[in-house]
Symmetry: C2
Subunit: 359 residues, 2 copies
């Protein structure tokens, strides 16, 4: 029974999302290394394992430690944080650990301090301009490769990119254009280095590209994460249908203000995060969906999270709709960004009331 | 030693903030019922207890349960969530519990279901328009009072307001104008009801008003929370000096991109929250401060958090400044909103390296 903000997980939708992406990877002959930063749950991880997935991506050493119980091949898709070298060495002793490097400083540090075998990807900036080496900086790439070649314990995996700029796209076509650029950049690097490193891998990651692209020429591995749940942001840019969103936050109604067409929920920034979306109604922080006998249906038109404070949310509701609600009911809210909501909540509750724990 | 994002707490600054607000309440003859939603820590709570504080405010039943170990008089400053009635009854049996009511539905529910004595505030909307009854709705107030009068277990505490609109103010004068309106609204209610309820309390809350107001006529109790740490938002609106901010997030540097004057830190939306501030540089998510032998000094001009993803932060740094940093260093970042950062982090680390646990 819902008594406070509870993150509901529609297991069927979630498994369908997993199946779809798994099948897509198979169809295009790609290795599938899903990013587990979105769900952060060993149990949800097992749903991937059942399909035959045997390697994963995470975004921190802490997450790698958590998942290392079940997974033997983990990429930490984050520029190596050299301050965590002790934990990295402990992990590398236990599992097949893949790290990301994008500077001489970090590869030199690793070559000095690493005590077990590791695999290293060189992070390439495919246009997002967050992390990674510009594909034109061949001199820097060669320097890093030289240090790798000189190390007994470090193997070169290949080049890894993340086209996070797809999150700024407006539609599928724009996403595909961004992805095409990633393919071109990575294709050139593969061409240049494949003789020297015949088994080098090209790894691409973002959920929008992996969801809508129809061409993966030259790509060896994909690492999408958000697709496991999807969300309103992904829906707005064209990655998923609204019906594929697999999580919704159940929030008790604590006040109804008909005079200003607003409902106050127990559900705030500490549950939904302050992640926002610019929609036709202005800035929104979530959308209210119809309750179904089991789970939820479509968004209720013009009913959305208008603002959030720490524990409160303000729902804007149409005048004819607001009459249906009273204190003690709860609303179901689709999140703007499921990764952030998943991170904030301590567990998931399936539609049949089973609790699923997470990191 | 810092190896990953760590929330540093300057105990001296924090205790000075507590002392200052405690003394101000004393000076104006106000009861001090600090809001503990910002720090959410039993240990920091003890610093208030040492001063003689004996009652607190929280924003959820969960927080009340956590603090009930040490505190015997707790106000849950949130419209009562009737779905948690069992936990409310368990709390009311143990401690002096104060709840907020703003509808007939909730007071009727309580009068039927409550099993121990409780005190109830009527929440008044002093202009923030989030929760509360409009001060003009005397009929509704009277109806609620009638139900309270008819109940054996419910006592009327008084009227409670929260002028959250002060967070939109631009300076001290604007805050004081908002506060003046709160005083007028609450003053009229007190005048109207004081014969019927001679011991009724007027309780006001927001940190901006409590920090800058010099007039508390008619007010009996204040409930500020954020002042314990303060933050960049409070600083921007004029509540605090930058030197009073008592928390900073230490974030390892994982990449330095001199060509675009950016530093990449391990520290993202899951640490700093996505709370933003519109400053002269545009939207920012935090400011970098100078490191001192112990703690931190002033913000470094033009060095700020430009964007955040889940675990990454991008720092914009001036060209002459960026030369000083390399991977493996860490930066200290003042948060935009300390309540949200406090909520996200699992503990605090004092400047001498002691860990302080929290909810």
């Amino acid at each position: 029974m819902i008594t406070k903000p509870t993150l509901l997980l529609d297991e069927i939708k979630c498994k369908e999302n997993i199946n779809k992406m798994f099948s897509k990877a198979q169809f295009y002959g790609l290795d599938f290394r899903p990013h587990f930063k979105t769900h952060q749950s060993l149990e949800i991880g097992k749903w991937f394992k059942e399909k035959g997935v045997d390697k994963i991506t995470v975004s921190s050493v802490t997450m790698a430690e958590y998942f290392a119980v079940d997974w033997n091949d983990i990429t930490i898709a984050f520029p190596v944080n050299i301050l965590e070298i002790n934990k990295i060495n402990a992990l590398a002793e236990k599992i097949n650990l893949n790290l990301l490097v994008e500077s001489e400083g970090s590869i030199e540090f690793l070559s000095e301090k690493i005590t077990s075998e590791i695999d290293v990807f060189i992070k390439i900036d495919v246009g997002y301009h967050r992390t990674g080496i510009s594909p034109n900086e061949i001199q820097l790439i060669d320097k890093i490769l030289q240090v790798i070649e000189g190390s007994q314990l470090i193997n070169f995996s290949g080049f890894l990119g993340h086209a996070g700029q797809t999150y700024e796209c407006k539609n599928k076509e724009e996403i595909r254009r961004v992805h095409k650029t990633s393919l071109e950049i990575m294709g050139k690097l593969k061409e240049k280095y494949k003789e020297q490193f015949p088994s080098l891998i090209i790894s691409l990651g973002d959920t929008p590209s992996c969801s809508v692209a129809k061409n993966f020429t030259g790509v060896d591995e994909i690492r999408p994460g958000n697709f496991v749940f999807y969300d309103l942001t992904q829906n707005q840019i064209g990655s998923n249908d609204i019906s594929q969103i697999a999580v919704a936050l159940a929030c008790p109604i604590v006040a109804v203000h008909k005079n200003r067409s607003e409902i106050i929920i127990y559900g705030g920034g500490v549950h939904l995060s302050k992640e926002r979306l610019e929609g036709e109604e202005g800035t929104i922080f979530g959308r209210v969906v119809e309750k179904k006998k089991s789970g939820w249906g479509n968004p209720i038109p013009k009913m959305y999270v208008k603002s959030l404070s720490q524990e409160h949310g303000i729902i804007s509701a149409p005048r004819d709709e607001i009459e249906k609600y009273k204190i003690g009911d709860y609303l179901l809210i689709l999140p703007v960004h499921s990764c952030m909501v998943g991170n904030l909540m301590k567990d998931y509750c399936t539609l049949d009331g089973r609790m699923i724990s997470k990191l």
